[in-house]
Amino acid sequence: MTIDLVHGRITLGLHELRAGPDGTPLLLLHGLGERTPAGVPDAVSTWGGPVYGLDFTGHGDSTVPAGGGYYAEVLMGDVDAALAHLGPAALYGRGLGAYVALLVTGARADVVRGTILGDGPGLAGGGTTPGSPFIVLPAPAKVVPPDPFALVELASDVRPPDYATAFARQATQASELAEPLAVVARGRPDWLAAVTAEPGVRTCTLDQALALYS
């Protein structure tokens, strides 16, 4: 089942992959250029509660806006729209989805019940400082998701380590959980290496992280 959520002028596709049983919902956040999988991935089948997946703006069943303008904080707003619908939930983000999950966990520490940061497309983003500026004008022909503007802009989105750790600290300070962030990714771009080194951030396997937050 797909639920349409409104985020500003964007309609987001929130997919219910598994209803019930009772328990904290797990919200899957896909990587750059991906979309929510058609069913519950085997890797998270041990989760005790319902499982949802959100298509980010410009991806999957969500609106592809005209003319781009993407950055990670807007996608944090996408997740916030999903949290407004779901209530308290745990997050599992892949790649780009892991970075966005970190941001929203810092911003909404009271409703995020544990966040798992995993490998996936778009994990590194544009590095720690901007490179030489450039302008890409994708062909305006028929645009289907994933939006080429999203691929370009979110792959060059700058992610300074101290910016990422500011969100991690907000999460660990404001969350009711002792360890609100679990790093299961094996890739370690600078922002994630810095987050992993923060007190209150656990490094473990995906199965251990799912058991921790279930």
């Binding site: 985020h7 500003g8 002028r9 781009g68 916030d80 030489s132």
Partner: protein
């Protein structure tokens, strides 16, 4: 006031409203890089040879990045109180402070949740001009009233600013103002920078002394005594004179 002086001197003057502002469409997404890309789209429709650009404030910062991205498309650059600053930029949405305040971020998200149905409150023409004057205390009521007639629209229940209420000034993000400043010495485009010297709410707080070490070779910066952020509105004749001399 300013642009007609350039037209009188024989220039074809083209201006556009950024996405979400004035008569341009309200967009689903707004960002700095989208504004720069929009500028290139405008340039593509206006000229196929290099042309000069004049940018004020945020427009100056955007034109600087356009010139850095496409040095072959811009012949000369006039930046009116639009040079990068080592300080935070108070009038740019997604582009500035790295100081993270939990309240600031949750306030931004709360705004995103409300924004779908937002509409600006109506007021009288004088009411809008008076409110704007708090941001622009140096500008005359006559000018601000004129600004309302172009930046606002008259509905049955009163005047409203056209700017998209979904846009929110201030905010937070990973951007450091110093990043733009560090690129400035490499600018290939001949540049004239005009700088106000009186601090204003919408100004960037940069001084010629702060900028000087970063200026590219041959660039000229002219400070304007007793002038605020809107130099071309406070002193249109002098700005036109310097601009025309530079473009000649």
């Amino acid at each position: 006031m300013f642009a007609p002086l350039l037209a009188d001197a024989g220039w074809r003057v083209v201006a556009w409203d950024h996405r979400g502002c004035g008569d341009s469409a309200h967009a689903a997404l707004y960002s700095w890089s989208a504004d720069v890309r929009d500028a290139l789209a405008v340039l593509d429709t206006v000229a196929d040879r290099p042309i000069p650009f004049i940018g004020h404030s945020k427009g100056g910062g955007l034109m600087l990045q356009l010139a850095e991205s496409c040095p072959h498309r811009i012949s000369k650059l006039v930046l009116i109180d639009g040079l990068p600053s080592p300080l935070a930029h108070p009038d740019i949405a997604d582009h500035e402070r790295t100081r993270l305040l939990a309240r600031e971020i949750s306030g931004w998200l709360d705004h995103r949740r409300r924004v779908a149905g937002n509409e600006r409150k109506p007021d009288t023409l004088d009411g809008l001009a008076a409110r704007r004057r708090r941001m622009n205390p140096r500008l005359s009521m006559e000018w601000l009233r004129y600004l309302v007639t172009v930046g606002g629209r008259h509905d049955a229940d009163g005047w409203r600013w056209k700017i998209d209420p979904a846009m929110r000034p201030g905010g937070f993000g990973p951007w450091r103002p110093s990043w733009a400043l560090e690129r400035l010495p490499g600018l290939a485009t001949p540049m004239l920078g005009l700088m106000g010297t009186q601090p204003e709410p919408m100004g960037w707080g940069a001084t010629p002394e702060m900028i000087e070490p970063y200026l590219p070779t041959g660039a000229r910066v002219v400070p304007f005594a007793d002038t605020g952020h809107f130099i071309h509105i406070e002193q249109p004749e002098r700005v036109a004179e310097l601009t025309l001399e530079f473009l000649a």
